[in-house]
Symmetry: C3
Subunit: 559 residues, 3 copies
Amino acid sequence: MVPNGEDSHKGKSSGEVIQIQLPPHHNFSRQVSLETGFAALNAEANRGKNAAFSPRGAKDRRILSRNGKSLGITTGAVAGADGVRKGDFSMFRTKSTLHKQLSMLPIRKESGFDLQNADGSSAGGGGGESGREESINQSVPAGRYFAALRGPELDEVKDSEDILLPTDQIWPFLLRFPINCFGICLGLGSQTILWQSLSTNPAMSFLHIPPYINTAIWFLALLTLVSVSLTYALKTAFFLEAVRREYFHPVRINFFFAPWISCMFLAIGAPPSLAPARLHPAVWCALFAPVFVLELKIYGQWLSGGKRRLCKLANPSSHLSVVGNFVGAVLAARVGWGEAGKFLWAIGIAHYLCVFVTLYQRLPTSQTLPKELHPVYCMFIATPSAASLAWNAIYGEFDAVARTFYFIALFLYTSLIVRINFFRGFKFSVAWWSYTFPMTTASMAAIKYAEEVPTILSKGLALGLAVISSAIVSSLFISTLLHGFVWCSLFPNDLAIAISRSKHSSSARNIKIAKDTKSASASRSRYDNLRRWAKKSLIPTAIDHHSSGHDSDDKRCTL
Amino acid sequence: MVPNGEDSHKGKSSGEVIQIQLPPHHNFSRQVSLETGFAALNAEANRGKNAAFSPRGAKDRRILSRNGKSLGITTGAVAGADGVRKGDFSMFRTKSTLHKQLSMLPIRKESGFDLQNADGSSAGGGGGESGREESINQSVPAGRYFAALRGPELDEVKDSEDILLPTDQIWPFLLRFPINCFGICLGLGSQTILWQSLSTNPAMSFLHIPPYINTAIWFLALLTLVSVSLTYALKTAFFLEAVRREYFHPVRINFFFAPWISCMFLAIGAPPSLAPARLHPAVWCALFAPVFVLELKIYGQWLSGGKRRLCKLANPSSHLSVVGNFVGAVLAARVGWGEAGKFLWAIGIAHYLCVFVTLYQRLPTSQTLPKELHPVYCMFIATPSAASLAWNAIYGEFDAVARTFYFIALFLYTSLIVRINFFRGFKFSVAWWSYTFPMTTASMAAIKYAEEVPTILSKGLALGLAVISSAIVSSLFISTLLHGFVWCSLFPNDLAIAISRSKHSSSARNIKIAKDTKSASASRSRYDNLRRWAKKSLIPTAIDHHSSGHDSDDKRCTL
Amino acid sequence: MVPNGEDSHKGKSSGEVIQIQLPPHHNFSRQVSLETGFAALNAEANRGKNAAFSPRGAKDRRILSRNGKSLGITTGAVAGADGVRKGDFSMFRTKSTLHKQLSMLPIRKESGFDLQNADGSSAGGGGGESGREESINQSVPAGRYFAALRGPELDEVKDSEDILLPTDQIWPFLLRFPINCFGICLGLGSQTILWQSLSTNPAMSFLHIPPYINTAIWFLALLTLVSVSLTYALKTAFFLEAVRREYFHPVRINFFFAPWISCMFLAIGAPPSLAPARLHPAVWCALFAPVFVLELKIYGQWLSGGKRRLCKLANPSSHLSVVGNFVGAVLAARVGWGEAGKFLWAIGIAHYLCVFVTLYQRLPTSQTLPKELHPVYCMFIATPSAASLAWNAIYGEFDAVARTFYFIALFLYTSLIVRINFFRGFKFSVAWWSYTFPMTTASMAAIKYAEEVPTILSKGLALGLAVISSAIVSSLFISTLLHGFVWCSLFPNDLAIAISRSKHSSSARNIKIAKDTKSASASRSRYDNLRRWAKKSLIPTAIDHHSSGHDSDDKRCTL
């Protein structure tokens, strides 16, 4: 206990980060995953800095409650010598050194700050711009996300994986604030347009919806967008590396489209009393430019076929990277630039085709999604609905093309509804918000269709879909408020961004068995298990390893 | 010989099935495949019951001709003790126990009777609803069909596979009556529409086809449909398990669309003298509802991406699951529900796109089809032709969209015709019928096109295609009559439904090595072999296996 | 040295090919790759025949400069006995035996001369039409091209591969003349149409382009086409086997469309003063017939799914096999056969869909293209541009469909331009020409669009694209002239056609190490190294291999 106490004291007295960047091939990198026990101590040291962001961190930490008993002298000494701490949140912090000056430009986060590192998905893409002392900042290869994470949103960590940050305490708020939060803006923004349609569309005039509902929701959506954007801007400013990791995450990357789509939703759904009848084209230019840059980036990755090729990355969230074109086309029609809208529609349809076929084929390479359906499947509805609306907006008629897309959306909607029981049993997360705007878009398309084909059935369908989407958004809104302000559980630790860059299977010291090539996998899995166990109990080297006979565990034992 | 004779006598004297359901992990299940020799005896015992279905069984059996010489005392005794027989057809029989009451509802066979077992393609999906005593009734995993079967229609059994039923006798007629027989209805039903077009279309008026040909074919098709439906309903009632196995068969599943498409063909092709000018929409509702339910089921399987994902299942027969939408759209236009037709067209085109691209890509995962072309490739023509006809029926003009699909069909037709020599050398089967309706659909589209573009060439093409399709249907009709009533070879044993649920790969000797943990997978497979072996012969370990030398030949040596 | 001299003398004195066809399973096939040293000698023997084609061959040969020192008695004796020579160019020569009479029909090269061998991609497809004494003439399996070659155009040979022809001398000119040369005709032919558009289109009338530029380019393109065609016809006549190998090459096969597309370009772009206002339909028939035959062949290969299935073969060059349909559709509209044009457009769009989706998915099976972009990616622009132009030509209006395709092309163009830095660093090759016509097609579509939507932006875009494409074609023309006539480096040895039919990994005679089964791959690579080393130095087996220890370094040690 004494060394542990010493170390604890030392960590506190030092009061700042000792060493952040880990040399990639250095043995210390093992330390990071080993010393979960020290993480809490270091977090304490970081407290002064992070207090503003994690006000509830203190009461959740149970320092040394489980790893204080067997921590031997060796470990303490090594830790003291190395001074590398797991749970050192500043490893995700924006660097202030000279070659990292781009972190001062938060706006670059969406505009492809990593063009030089763009296709840096090559597994062995070590060196790079800033040498080996920045190994943590290097982009995590695409394959690692799939290997280390699971779940339809790739947000859960597999049991066998290490996490760079401590899992037994609450991280700083900004680190726990994922890009998915823009889904809230998507959901509220699309509701704005829906209620605008409900109040102005002649097919829905029998409902007598007053226009001020649209106005109220619009202001709520605007408020949400501003606050989420500000918060994420802060995250970009302070934890650029975490943003980078979200940018390379196969699912999260698509959410980088969400802020701009939300803005476009707000521009389209602006109350007539506030906005001019025809918006200025500059609005469209300003809002679509970042989407266009992101698209050039992402579609180019698909096409050039590195590790981030479509057949591997495709997941329902990929629809988000396509639907922006259609929303942009609607906005282009609103500002009077019909040809620009047609341009966007063409881009959208070409890539929607690829995404749709790829997702329907369910190539064996796309093993990420579990068999069960999940709210993320709602994304399938979004793009055809938006394509239908966009065609109608651009070409001015709800003709065969628009109807075809609307009906496709309707069939997919039906196909999901009959599997409604699959949707149960998932715990609420902020990502659910992203799955509301497809339903809203579908109900908007249904209203357009009801305007074109005004029958009882079509109007009833439009009304029903609108009710469903509004009900879901309302209940999500309440859930979010409850989780956020009452239960304080809205933002759990965002484990997905804290996976290690490479699976630690590296060098043991006396690898006698390693020469035995026959049982390679068996010994490795045994080694993994031991490693995990060792991580928890931190047994000193006094344990007789030779008697145990597993040489590959030596490393763990001596550290 | 004496014990064998005894056993034979015993089998006869017992005169009924002794034990049907096999516990999955019980050793007796090996017996099923081992004792082919006894199967004939038991079949004899079953004769009284099955006589109505297999009248020619007797002359084909050569009882004990090959296994009478080395059948030792032990095996005979064991067999006598166990009394489990291969070739016990009642393992496919509808269960009458309480939890199987759904077998009393034959209508449920198409409407997704296995919604609870729908994605039951999980390999290890053991337990399930009815416990382990019904292992045979569990759905066969999708991968097994591909592993155990071969041929473009997955209807031939690989040499290395066991068959649950005896291959040396003729099975009951109902067991040999496959779902493919509805292909006859498809072929005749589409001919009905063709001859209706020939007699009424102005572009074909120069032929002066009398309308009564349409009437005659229509009644013939109706008769066929009724008899095939009745027979299959009987099969559903008596051998529900066999129907279940057809339902899970990757190719056969698509034929479950065939009855309803045939009905729609008959509704569309009804002679004007018999049917009103405009059918009642209830006809469309009644006929399309089962197709819609099946589609929700199958497209959902593709999308949710279990073992039955599109990239694995896709084969030319998948067109059958798409073409129903277009036929339904034509019928919807006939009953005056244009919007419903557009809805179906949209569903159809979206999934046709996926199927078309997937089949053209020929993903490496789809290894089922041999390199040689086969009549099943005719399916490629069906969907674009039907899409063209449906667009014309819904939107009232043979415009660019309809022409594009028609021309695609025409090109694929040409592409198949120039490979005509690949079509030779296949022996006739009832599945051929399914490959006639694409040609008929293509000729109908050609007639529509000739109506729109009345040139010599287009009329000649329409006439030529009509002649080809009618000639093929006629020759198939004659072949079917010959095979059915003269040669009595129309329905061979339907081996595809009798594959075992898991691969029986051969035997090992003694399990001591299984404790060796190093070679885990090797020992596991060896263990599996042993388990199966033990299951197979139930011979006490006293038997000298080392003297036999070739364990995997045990079956032949001792029988 | 003595045996070598003898052999050299013998090679000269015989003055003709001794033995060409190698029995496939015979040990002599090893000799082919072994005796690089003799290749030069035999080439000398061939000199009289090939002198016309390789005027610069003499100065590049350094006969026996490096392998004369260690050539032992054993090897010489074997070589003398076998008389098989590497570098015997006549192995690619057209056979004059009776069963090879088709080589007398050079016109058959494009019309599918190998229909019987069409799907001869079966790896073990040995025997075939002409028995085992023609193993070299058998088609190389598709997998071999991917295994042995690399680079985006599969024109570089991997280091580990053998080459049937000597790499240290310049081959006959005809052998070095690849089918890619028709790319020059594509580039110039499309320029013809561009300048015709520039001079006649009202949207571009502000440029006042005189029509004689079109005429001048047309004659230049015609001259180029005639000379390239004549040269390639000569190659077909003299080196039919080399043409066959180009035909089976996964990338080159697409270039067999190029001659006919070039012809169609010239027919479309013919100066109004020379050609009638409406061409005769026979022109279209004559020019499109070979394209159609090739398409039936290639699309059939995709569909039937042998080794040459789309998911393996797809590469940007595949666009060449699709774009012909659209060019043919434009020509069909010019000759007044609108329906034929619609037929072609339908074929084109169906297969473009497959190619587009397949390329965008970048299936894991298509590993040929490197991550870096390459001029070959320009092909992506060609097809949508041509589809847009063709739709406009057929249906007479630049409507939503045409615009959608035009905008898709525009987006892909943008997507490539922003990656312009990836295009640097590639050395010039004649294949670059093929990548100019997409840009030209895009600028033609832009002119059409500017005609339809005459704004400053659209006209400026059209002008800009036209300037880019003309500038690139001009610079390529100058580069080609420089490489061809000044630096004489336009046609390097065409290694891609000289790969061996199967990877030689089989057993040599006294390789004792090969019996070590544990380190199979290690020994194989060592063996390969040895083989290569032996090939270069031709050391007799008396050399002590065990003393060297590291066989793989032998090459460097002794050379």
